[in-house]
């Protein structure tokens, strides 16, 4: 198959939104006519498959074949009904106590990638994502009002051991630095250590 056709498929797939013909022109450096031909070809080749290409006002999008609506619906509702794993509950607990909290913070606390767990909690309406008030490029997670009502919580501070647990569950201290003594005092200091101290470390660069 044609390389450009393959590239168009990849772009449409990764985009997960309607893509304007103009965007494809810009990214691929090809003319409209040529692209339209290839898009038509893709549309035909996929028409009988589980993934379809649809077009509206020169915007293109890959979607599921409508004939498979019931199967996809079953899959989604099974996902909704699934019992939360310990990993999911842990993530939810962090969001509940530490909100608003970023994905990076959650992952640093848990020590494991949490992308798909967050997605699951979002889909089930227990948490929501919004842009941080401090940094608009950063997303933060919060529990939804519905979930708080469901839990019967009106004020986060009423959560059991709120003060103690929000303090204890925070980013782990950095492990002791090479070239530094790692007694308690040093660990405290390291967090705010000026960059200039780094040169003294025993590490070769």
């Amino acid at each position: 198959m044609n390389d450009t056709q393959s590239q168009i498929e990849s772009i449409l797939f990764a985009a997960s939104r309607p893509v304007k013909l103009g965007e494809l022109v810009k990214t691929l450096g090809l003319g409209k006519t040529e692209l339209l031909e290839l898009l038509e070809k893709i549309k035909n080749e996929y028409s009988a498959r589980g993934i379809n290409l649809i077009e509206k006002d020169e915007r293109y999008q890959l979607v599921t074949n409508p004939a498979n609506g019931p199967a996809v619906g079953n899959f989604n509702s099974a996902e909704l009904r699934e019992k939360l794993t310990d990993a999911s509950l842990e993530t939810l607990a962090i969001i509940l106590y530490k909100q608003p909290v970023s994905r990076a913070e959650i992952e640093a606390i848990r020590g494991v990638n949490s992308q798909y767990i967050l997605r699951q909690l979002l889909i089930r309406g227990m948490v929501e994502k919004s842009t941080s008030s401090e940094d608009s490029r950063r997303y933060v997670y919060k529990t939804t009002l519905e979930f708080m009502t469901h839990l019967g919580i009106t004020d986060m501070k009423n959560l059991p051991d709120f003060e103690m647990l929000t303090r204890a569950v925070s980013l782990p201290e950095e492990p002791p630095l090479p070239g530094k003594k790692s007694n308690d005092e040093e660990l405290e200091k390291n967090e705010n250590a000026p960059a200039s101290q780094d040169e003294e470390s025993g590490i070769k660069n």
Binding site: S10, L92, L165, A195, G202
Partner: protein, 237 residues
């Protein structure tokens, strides 16, 4: 430089050892390991006040090197130490390490091509429906937080304990010098008495360091007899 960058650029003991051998264009063998032992010890010396966890890793390799090197010099001691199999497999370990470095290079060559695959970013917003898990109660979430707090505490406590267990080389050198200052001559078995494995390694290492610096000298009157340590330039009693 942030901690992460430093730790990831840090050269571990096998890395250092491999470099020493390759710089001299030597094959990996016990003979070449013995040849670079001195340089390896010097490298450790340059790592003053290194964090104890990493020091322990270096000392483990150093102890293996020292055993290999002293095989001809101190046969009786080596026999004792060699009961622990692992002392003799350094050449094999280094070969394995080198193989995986080659695999790492291959993986790097894949990464350099930037042939990334991408998953679909989004998911349909209308999938979202409020469907909480009934088991996700305040009690359960509270417990999850408690166990998180507990395991995070463990993570930070662990390295602190290591500090107490490992003695620094420089301290050990001072101890040995003090011991000799009082007694003029000590037996190796005394120096190693009632010591933990780590301490034996450190003592042994310190000993070699002192010999190299011509502060100490060792004597063995005959094969399998006691090894005596005394100050350099001091007459044998």
């Amino acid at each position: 430089m942030p901690y992460q960058v430093r730790i990831e650029k840090f050269q571990g003991p096998l890395e250092v050892l491999l470099q020493l051998i390759e710089e001299q264009k030597l094959p990996i063998s016990e003979i070449s390991l013995a040849e670079v032992t001195q340089q390896f010890l010097e490298h450790i010396k340059s790592l003053q006040d290194i964090n104890p966890e990493l020091l322990a890793d270096f000392l483990t390799v150093a102890s293996k090197l020292l055993v290999i090197k002293s095989k001809t010099l101190l046969p009786s001691l080596v026999e004792e130490l060699e009961e622990e199999e692992e002392f003799s497999d350094l050449a094999y370990q280094l070969t394995q390490f080198k193989k995986f470095k080659l695999v790492a290079k291959y993986l790097e060559s894949l990464e350099t091509k930037k042939h990334y695959s991408f998953a679909r970013e989004g998911w349909e917003e209308d999938f979202v429906s409020f469907y909480p898990d009934p088991t996700a109660s305040i009690g359960v979430l509270y417990k999850a937080m408690q166990s998180l707090a507990h395991s995070l505490e463990e993570i930070t406590r662990l390295p602190k304990q290591m500090v107490k267990e490992v003695i620094s080389i420089s301290q050990k050198i001072k101890d040995l010098q003090n011991l000799l200052g009082q007694k003029i001559e000590i037996k190796l078995s005394e120096a190693l008495q009632k010591k933990s494995r780590t301490e034996i390694i450190v003592t042994f290492l310190a000993l070699l360091e002192l010999i190299k610096q011509r502060i100490l000298t060792v004597d063995q009157e005959m094969l399998f007899s006691e090894i005596k340590i005394r100050k350099f330039n001091q007459p044998v009693i």
